[in-house]
């Protein structure tokens, strides 16, 4: 395991996501709480990055900014050459639909839709026909090993299976980047291991760029790179490369 400085990490790499001087603060009553202050760093294409840090360190905020579901107070975020901080809300939604796959801690599946329908949901935003949508959703479910659970409602699936459906939903549109916020936080050890292995496979075999926020060192160990964001010194970033 080697520790690299950010400047070294950026040199000569194929950068997919670039955060430049990004600041973000939240209002809590009358108080303004700074979360990120002047953060600059890059994420390379086909990287599997684990973001770690204590609660309140700003790792989820950073993930939200990268995914385009929150906007910075200052600075710019460029993903695949597109400065997403300049996009208006409607275009940002379209950009997310095309480029980002989400994996949430509590799966966030639609409880009234079957596994297949949940996976098919993001495809309804595309111009694909019903048949093709179904085929792609089936394929995504087979990639996460749930071909035999297509007609099950989320309530009929275990936590691990629900998270695998969520992963299938995240990859069905073939997005550029997958963002995962504590994807194993609600799972038992075995299910967590299965989910992380799927994510590893998506990164290794399909070249998906994955940014994962986690508290769990075992989960972070599946990433190619771990970054630790420390509360109180937001400009200071520790980067470790797993070899």
């Amino acid at each position: 395991m080697t520790v690299l400085r950010i400047s070294e990490a950026r040199a000569g790499e194929d950068v997919l996501i670039a955060l430049s001087d990004v600041s973000k603060s939240y209002r809590r009553g009358a108080q303004i709480v700074p979360v990120l202050a002047g953060l600059t760093f890059d994420i390379r294409r086909k990287e599997f990055l684990a973001l770690m840090g204590p609660s309140g360190s700003g790792k989820s905020t950073m993930l939200n900014l990268i995914a385009g579901i929150d906007s910075p107070d200052q600075g710019s975020i460029t993903v695949g050459g597109e400065n997403i901080t300049l996009l208006p809300e409607a275009e940002l939604a379209d950009w997310r639909a095309a480029n980002v796959g989400f994996i949430f801690q509590f799966y966030n599946l639609m409880p009234v839709l079957t596994a297949l329908e949940n996976v098919e949901l993001p495809l309804t935003l595309t111009s694909l026909g019903r048949r093709e949508r179904r085929d792609r959703a089936q394929l995504a479910l087979s990639l996460v090993g749930l071909s035999d659970r297509v007609k099950h409602l989320p309530s009929e699936l275990s936590g691990g299976q629900q998270q695998r459906v969520a992963i299938a939903r995240a990859i069905v549109t073939d997005p550029t980047v997958l963002v995962a916020d504590e994807p194993t936080g609600d799972l038992d050890r075995q299910s967590a291991k299965e989910v992380l292995e799927i994510m590893q496979r998506l990164n290794r075999d399909m070249g998906k760029t994955i940014v994962m926020v986690t508290h769990d060192h075992r989960a972070a160990a599946h990433a190619k790179r771990i970054m630790s964001l420390e509360k109180g010194d937001l400009s200071y970033l520790v980067e470790q490369r797993l070899e």
Partner: protein, 386 residues
């Protein structure tokens, strides 16, 4: 079915108990609204059914006071008058005072000629003209009390003293559903001849003259001319169109009608509050789902339309069932109310008002939840508890 419709339909069925209770509330509200509107409309049925060329002449002081029968000849002589008939409100009691139904003493031949909306079979008409104590009863009244031709019934007089016996000659129907068939007509000459014996002061008196005018253009002139004939007499007259007479009659109960109308709208307002609460609760519970949808690329408008469609769908189902139940419930109410409401027919207008009320409830109930779900930031929505 599109994914969007699937989501809407399944969301409606998600909390079956909650949806069922909301539906029950909606059905009752739309039904109550329809029935109350129908009651108000029925109250005005006499106004709607008034024939424009028919005038009614009554005592100018009050229609409770009679006019001399001798006025009929002088009214007939007024230019523009085609024919005149007369009648008296009888106000008798059949067995018990709770058995109320309208009874009129009429000049049989001229009255039935002037009121073609009362359909009397020829043989019944002949029997009625033949039998001095004869009476004809409307279909609804006959059904209610089981009156049959040949029955002899007794009414106890309230305005005209004594017991009065009548022989039922037959049953009449209405030309259209609005015609009141809860009435009894008997012969004025029977009333008058009996009064000459029992209560001389009440004899040869008439409650109302009905006047058929030659042309619609002359209605106002004829009305004025009739009243002019009796100006400065002991019993001055007031002649007005049948419609104006009915409106005057209805106006006496206007406060009740306004109250009924207000109540019907209050019912809708209450169900709107209930429905809005249901939708607000629903949207609050699903805030994280809406945030998820927005995160994966769906627009705030898509999320808002999900809530609107769910609300409108529930309101439409409740409205449709409520509308469907209104005619049978109104009919049953008409039966139960004896002769108070001779007929309770749900009009197309009322059905449209009910449908509009259901739609408005569905839309208004969704407005605030839609706004909240569409405007909440994705980050805040994802933090919300499911």
């Amino acid at each position: 079915m599109s994914q969007w419709l699937t989501l809407v339909a399944r969301n409606v069925l998600r909390h079956r108990l909650r949806t069922s209770l909301t539906l029950v509330g909606l059905i009752v509200a739309i039904l109550a609204f329809g029935v109350l509107q129908t009651v108000v409309k029925t109250w005005y049925a006499g106004v709607d059914g008034a024939v424009p060329s028919r005038l009614l002449t009554r005592n100018a002081i009050s229609f409770a006071l009679p006019l001399p029968k001798s006025y009929q000849k002088r009214i007939s002589a007024v230019e523009g008058v085609r024919r005149v008939t007369h009648m008296n409100w009888f106000g008798g009691i059949y067995k018990d005072s709770k058995n109320f139904f309208p009874q009129f003493a009429i000049d049989a031949a001229s009255y039935l000629d002037m009121y073609p909306e009362i359909l009397v079979p020829d043989e019944v008409r002949r029997a009625f003209l033949r039998e001095r104590r004869g009476a004809i009863v409307g279909r609804k009244l006959a059904r209610r009390y089981g009156f049959k031709p040949g029955d002899v019934i007794q009414l106890r007089g309230t305005i005209f003293p004594g017991n009065w016996e009548f022989v039922i000659c037959g049953v009449f129907d209405g030309r259209d559903p609005k015609t009141d068939t809860s009435q009894l007509f008997f012969r004025w000459d029977y009333l008058n001849e009996t009064l000459r014996v029992r209560s001389k002061a009440q004899a040869d008196q008439v409650g109302l003259f009905a006047v058929d005018v030659v042309g619609l253009d002359s209605v106002a002139d004829v009305s004025q001319a009739i009243d002019e004939v009796f100006r400065n007499s002991l019993a001055e007259t007031l002649t007005e169109t049948e419609r104006a007479f009915q409106i005057g009659f209805v106006k006496q109960t206007e406060a009740i009608l306004i109250s009924i109308r207000v109540v019907s709208f209050v019912v809708i307002f209450i169900i709107l509050a209930v429905m809005a609460n249901t939708m607000a609760m629903t949207a609050r519970e699903r805030l994280r789902e809406y945030a998820t949808l927005k995160a994966i690329g769906f627009s705030p408008g898509y999320v808002a339309r999900l809530i609107l469609a769910e609300s409108v769908l529930i309101a439409s189902i409740g409205g449709a069932i409520g509308i469907g139940l209104t005619p049978p419930v109104a009919a049953r109410l008409a039966e139960l109310s004896a002769t108070l409401f001779p007929t309770l027919i749900v009009s197309v207008n009322t059905v449209m008002l009910q449908a509009l009320a259901a739609l408005v409830v569905g839309i208004l109930a969704a407005l605030l939840p839609m706004r909240r779900a569409a405007r909440v930031s994705i980050v805040d929505g994802l933090r919300a508890l499911g």
